[in-house]
């Protein structure tokens, strides 16, 4: 009673003083910012999905994604502990049996994610987490077969780990090979065997898929069907994928085998015009996602949308009346689950937020190429040759979209998107003849060229030297990386800059590019 009385007699200003420490130090810890679930954006709203993506180059066939209601009715993914996949010759003794003794362990509890660091850490876990255990690309019997590694020239770590897939333990004795993690396409085994997460990956995915189809004895019909699910775009002029399917099993398998590591025929893209696997390091500064700039990247919500869509939900898109896996709109919205890899569940918004935060946190490794006299003269050549116009420092991209040959930019796009109104003449196939094609290519960043390759959006050139070699413009050129399965030679056209430089200047320019 006395204390209460004493307190009531204290002057008001003294109570004010007690609040000062809060004003000075804030309400949260100094080294951590806290999140609540109310901070996590709801990303798949009908309103947001309407114009987030750019229209298809043939706008009548622009993607129509599933509705907000459909999306949020999908169950959220449970994230189990995963285990590394070893080359059979490197697998620790008893490892396989030990795996089968393990219980399922749920490793992500969203309610415990409080700080930015928590989210980034959870994001890394999700980055490595496979969303498919149905054998979407490869399955157990493939990775336990030594021939798989030889046939695909699979990169391994010094420990013999194949880092592009993981074992998922969903219960005692339930050991599944997990596919389709972000890490699958965006992890690079470097020359020294170290792993670089987020880089242009060197997963030979299409070679691996060809191996799986062949060794599984898949029928021609089955190979045609799965290839159609992945790449068919019957609305594209000339229907090149339809022609590939009609060419039969061997031609299709050859087309898969022709895609080099560093490129990957992701669903909606193509193995005829395969996209270079994108480098995610520095992606937070890029305004468009996908080589064709399909997804706008204006904020973290856009990145979250892109992750969700790209992790196979685009199989549920309609392109006009066409759906890649043969659904009708009635079937899609019937309420019955669709058991196709990646389409029967989804990441929660908190998981996507964590993934985006992790991807934003990726930073480049230390560049071993230090500036030199040669690279400094290359820097001047870079400016003189006008490279800076598109590859503008400090991002080394102007973050714009260039129309490809044959695509006429609609007037409205100039106000809506960042358009650099000329074509540099690179191969238009990807952006004009695929489900993800927009008619544009985004101007790529040149940061981190030293740890990347092959180059150009279609991964057709293995080395930077090839880019400045005028021989590549001739029809008798043999592309040093991706070469379509049905030709012996092919000109790699477009981006005809720096070709008239003398050899010394080319060397200097490349030396500079490798320092970025």
């Amino acid at each position: 009673m006395k204390i209460k009385e004493w307190l009531s007699r204290l002057p008001l200003w003294l109570y004010g003083c007690m609040l000062l420490p809060l004003l000075a130090f804030g309400l949260s810890k100094q080294d951590a910012s806290y999140f609540s679930f109310s901070d996590i954006p709801r990303i798949w709203t009908d309103e947001a999905m309407k114009d987030w993506e750019l229209p298809n180059s043939n706008p009548e066939y622009s993607a129509q994604p599933v509705s907000e209601e459909f999306y949020y009715n999908l169950p959220e993914r449970v994230i189990y502990k995963t285990y590394p996949v070893y080359h059979p010759d490197h697998e620790p003794e008893g490892y396989w049996e030990w795996l089968h003794e393990q219980e399922a362990e749920i490793v992500l509890d969203e309610s415990k994610l409080l700080t930015e660091e928590d989210y980034i850490k959870a994001g890394e876990l999700l980055f490595d987490y496979p969303i498919d255990t149905l054998g979407a690309v490869i399955s157990t019997k493939h990775v336990r077969n030594i021939d798989f590694y030889t046939a695909t020239e699979m990169p391994l770590t010094p420990e013999g780990i194949m880092p592009f897939a993981q074992w998922v333990v969903a219960g005692k004795g339930k050991v599944y090979l997990g596919n389709l993690s972000c890490a699958m396409c965006h992890t690079r085994v470097m020359d020294d065997g170290s792993l670089l997460k987020g880089a242009q990956g060197n997963w030979p995915g299409d070679k691996a898929f060809a191996f799986a189809l062949e060794t599984d004895g898949a029928s021609e019909r089955a190979i045609q069907n799965i290839t159609s699910f992945l790449f068919a775009s019957p609305f594209a002029e000339g229907d090149p994928h339809g022609k590939l399917l009609a060419a039969g099993k061997e031609a299709i398998l050859e087309a898969y085998r022709a895609v080099p590591e560093g490129a990957f025929g992701r669903q909606g893209t193509s193995i005829l015009f395969p996209p270079q696997a994108p480098n995610l390091i520095g992606v937070k500064d890029r305004k468009y996602l996908d080589h064709g700039g399909l997804g706008q990247h204006r904020n973290i919500e856009d990145m979250m949308r892109y992750i969700s869509m790209n992790q196979a939900l685009d199989f549920l898109n309609f392109y006009g009346d066409y759906n890649p896996i043969g659904l009708t709109k009635e079937r899609l919205n019937s309420g019955e689950p669709i058991f196709f890899p990646g389409t029967y569940d989804r990441h929660s918004d908190a998981q996507l937020y964590a993934l985006a935060k992790y991807i934003y946190s990726l930073s480049p490794p230390k560049n071993p190429n230090k500036p030199s006299e040669l690279s400094e003269s290359g820097k001047i050549i870079f400016a003189e040759q006008g490279c800076v116009t598109c590859h503008t420092p400090p991002l080394f991209t102007n973050n714009k979209l260039t129309p490809t040959d044959g695509f006429e930019v609609p007037d409205a796009h100039y106000d809506k998107y960042d358009i650099f109104g000329i074509s540099v003449g690179t191969d238009p196939g990807y952006t004009m003849k695929t489900r993800r094609g927009t008619g544009y290519y985004k101007v790529p960043s040149l940061l981190g060229l030293w740890y990347r390759g092959p180059f150009l959006h279609d991964a057709s050139l293995a080395n930077l030297e090839d880019l400045f070699d005028s021989a590549r413009l001739k029809d008798d050129y043999v592309p040093t990386a991706f070469k379509p399965h049905d030709v012996k030679t092919k000109a790699v056209k477009g981006h005809e800059f720096g070709m008239e430089l003398n050899e010394m200047d080319k060397k200097a320019l490349i030396a500079y590019l490798l320092t970025l």
Binding site: A383, G386, T389
Partner: protein, 208 residues
């Protein structure tokens, strides 16, 4: 490429001829002006026009318009080679003098063809919509011997702005040689957008 400047030269002829025709029609209809009077009018008109024509011929200068702009610390030199100018300049009659020029932005050259193509596009000169650049004098003042300052209206991409151009005149007989240099802010005319590497200022040199 013909950029149509001759229309400006021909226009006085056309309008005067119409005037003559109207007068003649009037003569024929009324029949009140005799042959001598008509001859006198025509002679007067002839002597009024000829000096104007002699002093204000449109011609294509030998020297292209030159411009310089800094891009990533490097000075990029460019040219616009297709241009015409019409000069009626008398240092003693500055108020009656005029200089007009018209340039075709399609003839721009910077040493990199694709860059030139980009400059043709809508982010820069947008030549499909704006087919010419024009420069038209408004007034002159002397700035010492053979040195002048002109106020010109420069039109690029449909944007008109008054600019001040100092220039020199060297005269050999009847031949006049002009040289002027000025700087513009490309953003004033909607030429591209703010850039981290490309300077806003463009230095222009005109010689004819």
């Amino acid at each position: 490429m013909d950029i149509g400047y001759l229309d400006i030269v021909v226009a006085p002829w056309g309008s005067l001829r119409k005037c003559c025709v109207r007068r003649e029609n009037f003569n024929y209809l009324s029949g009140k002006i005799d042959f001598r009077s008509r001859l006198l009018i025509l002679t007067l008109i002839f002597f009024l026009i000829v000096p104007f024509l002699l002093s204000a011929q449109s011609f294509k200068p030998e020297n292209p318009i030159q411009f310089k702009i800094k891009n990533a610390g490097i000075t990029v030199d460019g040219l616009i080679s297709d241009w015409e100018v019409m000069v009626d300049f008398d240092p003693k009659k500055l108020t009656q003098s005029s200089i007009r020029g018209k340039a075709n932005p399609e003839s721009i050259q910077t040493g990199i063809k694709l860059r030139d193509k980009h400059l043709h596009g809508r982010e820069y000169f947008h030549i499909e919509k704006f087919s010419f650049i024009s420069l038209e004098s408004k007034s002159f003042r002397s700035k010492g011997k053979n040195a002048f300052i002109g106020i010109f209206e420069l039109q690029i991409r449909g944007v008109k702005r008054e600019i001040e151009i100092p220039f020199t005149l060297s005269q050999t007989g009847k031949q006049q040689m002009f040289k002027g240099e000025f700087t513009i802010d490309r953003l004033d005319y909607g030429l591209g957008e703010k850039s981290l590497v490309l300077s806003d200022e463009v230095r222009v040199v005109v010689e004819f």
